[in-house]
């Protein structure tokens, strides 16, 4: 039987449902394209309670985090959040996550739903010699993402107060006795917040439902996993299981920025030092020139030869064209390189494109106009 989140009673009345990572989740409410555009132009809200939330606490918490993440956690004081990875000894990606430093020796990892158990067990294994306590708080908390240029206005209208929170910072907040961790993070490329609603187990979902309904009343459009996927592809963000997995390392995935090779030690470091200058493939964006939507598994052809494959593809509601990401050999990885993609019954023309796919002066959190 698939599991459900605290907001299930809302979803089942308003959304087309789908199963994802063992959870019954909304695919869309009004339509993927409509929901997608509302996030780029205004504000959308997503239930992301299915994701894993692991609390790391204790005297050796920082030492532990420095061991399991390739990022230098010392650079992020309490109140900061950062994107990072869990690597295996071979430098392969076990998961990607956002780490929230809650206190000097307290962290929260938000991991992919599909890896919840795997990550927890593995982290536990790495912690046996340290004074650190790991707790999976996924089931006692709910989580939602408020995303889009109007997110801040909408959330401020609820709190009745200005929010002074920079990107990748977090703080504690409360609304009508609902306690939450409020973080300026997300998975859409837009400005926005992720809210972790505390003390809201599935048997007592009222706080989560109350907040969810209130944010919708205030103007946030409910969005499903369909729009979550199209938004993150447009932004060039990876989905674990599609674009990254244990057979891919951070150099190939273009995630070098989260890896600090100056750190004395982290799991996977030795292997990354060996391979860092000679990746056999690179993750790239692909923008369709001809009609058609590239899908996972489609071959990418350059100079008459197959140079890689698509790992995620969709139709971009913003660009009104097919877009994708995938892996190609380094000689075909430069932006602007013309390639062909083998679609279902024909081939389509495409070009290698950087991330994100949209114009950053007009869309995304860096946009110029408010």
């Amino acid at each position: 039987m698939p599991r459900v989140t605290q907001l299930y009673t809302y979803h089942v009345r308003h959304a087309r449902m789908m199963e994802f990572a063992g959870f019954l989740m909304p695919l869309f409410y009004s339509g993927i394209i409509e929901e997608h555009l509302s996030v780029r132009e205004s504000c959308g809200i997503f239930d992301v309670s299915h994701m894993g939330r692991i609390l790391i606490k204790g005297k050796d918490a920082t030492k532990f985090v420095q061991r399991v993440l390739p990022t230098n956690a010392e650079k992020y004081p309490p109140g900061r959040a950062f994107y990072s990875l869990l690597l295996n000894e071979d430098g392969g990606i076990k998961d990607d996550l956002i780490a929230y430093r809650l206190a000097e020796n307290e962290y929260l990892f938000v991991v992919n739903a599909v890896n919840r158990q795997k990550d927890f067990n593995w982290l536990k294994l790495q912690s046996t010699d340290l004074e650190v306590d790991l707790r999976d708080i996924s089931d006692s908390t709910a989580m939602m993402a408020l995303q889009g240029p109007k997110s801040s206005d909408i959330f401020e209208s609820l709190l009745g107060d200005k929010i002074e929170l920079k990107r990748f910072h977090h703080t504690k907040a409360s609304w009508c006795c609902v306690q939450m961790i409020l973080a300026r993070t997300g998975y859409t490329g837009e400005d926005g917040f992720e809210l972790i609603v505390l003390d809201t187990p599935i048997e007592k979902p009222d706080n989560a439902l109350k907040l969810w309904n209130r944010l919708i009343e205030a103007g946030a459009k409910p969005c499903g996993l369909g729009a979550r996927d199209t938004l993150r592809i447009e932004a060039g963000l990876c989905l674990y299981g599609n674009d990254i997995d244990e057979s891919i390392n951070p150099i190939e995935a273009g995630l070098e920025r989260v890896v600090d090779l100056q750190k004395p030690y982290f799991i996977g470091k030795d292997k990354l030092l060996e391979i860092k200058d000679s990746p056999s493939k690179r993750r790239v964006g692909l923008l369709m020139i001809s009609r058609g939507v590239p899908r996972q598994g489609c071959e990418i052809i350059y100079g008459g030869e197959t140079v890689g494959w698509v790992t995620s593809g969709t139709f971009s509601p913003l660009l009104k064209r097919g877009i994708a990401m995938g892996y190609v050999t380094p000689e075909a990885a430069n932006p602007g390189t013309p390639v062909t993609i083998r679609l279902r019954e024909r081939v389509g023309e495409a070009e290698i494109h950087g991330f994100p796919f949209y114009d950053e002066t007009k869309y995304g959190w860096k946009r110029k106009s408010a």
Binding site: G31, I32, I33, T230, V293, R295, F315, P317
Partner: protein
Amino acid sequence: MSIKVGIYDVRDGLLYNREHEWVRLEDGDIAVIGVSDYAAKQLHDIVYVTLPAKGKRVTRMEPIATLESVKAVADVYSPLSGEVAEINQALTERPELVGESPYQDGWIVKLRIEPDRFKEEKMALMSPKEYARYIEELIRKA
């Protein structure tokens, strides 16, 4: 007039194929073909429609067009045999018509059919009532 099955509309006066296409007879030997509201809603967010060339001959249950949505691609199977007499060119620019108006503006092709063959092939098609029961059953199993 139409039958409602949950959120799905089954339009009266049409014949339905089990792959969710509908047929409406026009001027004796012309059959208009489209997909049902159920099919359009199942696929949702249709972004490309690939149409056949005029004059193409198809036999019953052969793919005649493709509908591509944000999430998936689906073939449209010809519910009848015949020759493509007309295609709905509007769908090239406005593929969303299939979802917005599946029984009217979202029609896909018109086939010139042979009356004798039609009499035979018609037996495999469903009445609106039969089709409504058919999708009710599909929803129950899902």
